[in-house]
Amino acid sequence: MPKIKIPHKTPRVDMTPMVDLFSLLLTFFMLTATMRPSEPAPIDTPFSVSETPQPDANVMTMVISAEGKVFFNIDNGPDTILHFRPKILEEMGKRYNIQFTGDELRKFEKYSSSFGVDIKNLKTFLSAREPSEREKLEKGIPMDTLDNQLAYWVLYAREVNPAVKVLIKGDSNADYPVVKKVLDILQDKNVNRFSLITSLEVVQVVDAKK
């Protein structure tokens, strides 16, 4: 009998189309990626029907966590030429008699997420190498009547950048009195217009008595 030769085929799949698709997807994601800044506390924003997108530049954000801690962030968006952050920190340092070095100012400028640290601990916070060390210091910005640091942050942020807008990013489960306190501090500093950060939700109005 003649030997039937079975063609020796390697079980190789042609991966070119797959690679093509992957590179396309990768390019797409890389180009559309806007990095989600890490938050010191998980914030679950409430839903609303508002469709106004969040502004990128000239904002300061008050983050209110579910436990009632308040974090603060000043963001000049992609525009870093004006160096708002170190200027604001310098002013705060003058107020509390803390001399921040150039290195610390630079570190503060680069630190992109919001912070909830007492100004007295900010030096240790900025020099901390481990995130766990930072986490320990983040007890929320003091805002009681004796030591109202949040009010000064707001004041200097507005002094350095008068065009700054106030965003409030609260957790759904944050207690209203805490929010009210933050609003009161803002109103004391003559900020009467705020934007609350929400997620989009679609609502249909059904009029029962039509």
Partner: protein
């Protein structure tokens, strides 16, 4: 000469030039790409968060005397946000001697929801806005998309039949409900609403409605 050499070569076994396959092993590349794609997918914030604007009335300085604005009692609607997603409302003014009945509602879209209450009082304006938006969609009114919002705002400021809503918060309410109630205002198209402080009479009314011991007295509030 050359021929002989060629023949020699043919005789001494088959010497084919080795065929290199042009296919490159792409598995590591695919692996890496998979990883990168997963990374970018997880870190991308797709839905950009939205913002809802609120404007609070300017604070009155302590030494300044400002006449409170006069509003007709029949047009005022007081909404008090209570604990556990409860909403209470009453019309008119709270007089300690003659307490108005406090109604309970919720945030649902049902007949018991606060939306229905607001809609009942704001139907005229709501219809007007709805009609306007319909006309813009169907092209009856030729208007630029940018000016739709200002046109609606104009409809709202011209309105003088809708309720004036005073939103108050009981101390145990949650931030979520603040967003919810302002949302309801924009859904129903309420032209005039304001967020103000709750007073002791209203706190007492809420506590009574919740079946809690009434702790609110004028002294306890201030």
């Amino acid at each position: 000469m050359a021929e002989i050499i060629q023949e020699d070569k043919h005789k001494g076994g088959k010497k084919k030039p080795k065929k290199h396959s042009t296919a490159i092993d792409m598995t590591p590349m695919v692996d890496l790409m998979c990883l990168l794609i997963t990374f970018f997918m997880l870190t991308t914030a797709f839905a950009k968060p939205k913002v809802m604007e609120i404007v609070l009335p300017e604070k009155v300085k302590k030494d300044e005397k400002v006449e409170p604005p006069k509003i007709a009692d029949s047009r005022t609607l007081n909404i008090i946000i209570g604990p556990k997603d409860k909403v209470f409302w009453y019309g008119g003014k709270a007089d300690p001697a003659n307490l108005p009945p406090l109604q309970e509602a919720d945030f649902s879209a049902s007949a018991n929801g606060i939306r229905q209450v607001l809609l009942d009082r704001n139907r005229a304006l709501f219809k007007k806005i709805e009609q306007f938006q319909q006309d813009v969609l169907t092209g009856k009114i030729a208007i630029k998309q940018d000016s739709v919002r200002s046109a609606i705002r104009k409809l709202k400021t011209d309105d003088d039949t809708g309720p004036i809503v005073l939103i108050k918060f009981y101390k145990k309410s949650k931030y979520k409900n603040l967003v919810d109630i302002i949302d309801e205002m924009s859904i129903v198209g309420i032209a005039r609403y304001i967020i103000t402080d709750i007073n002791w009479i209203e706190e007492g009314m809420v506590e009574r409605a919740l079946g809690m011991p009434v702790a609110s007295t004028p002294a306890a509030h201030k």
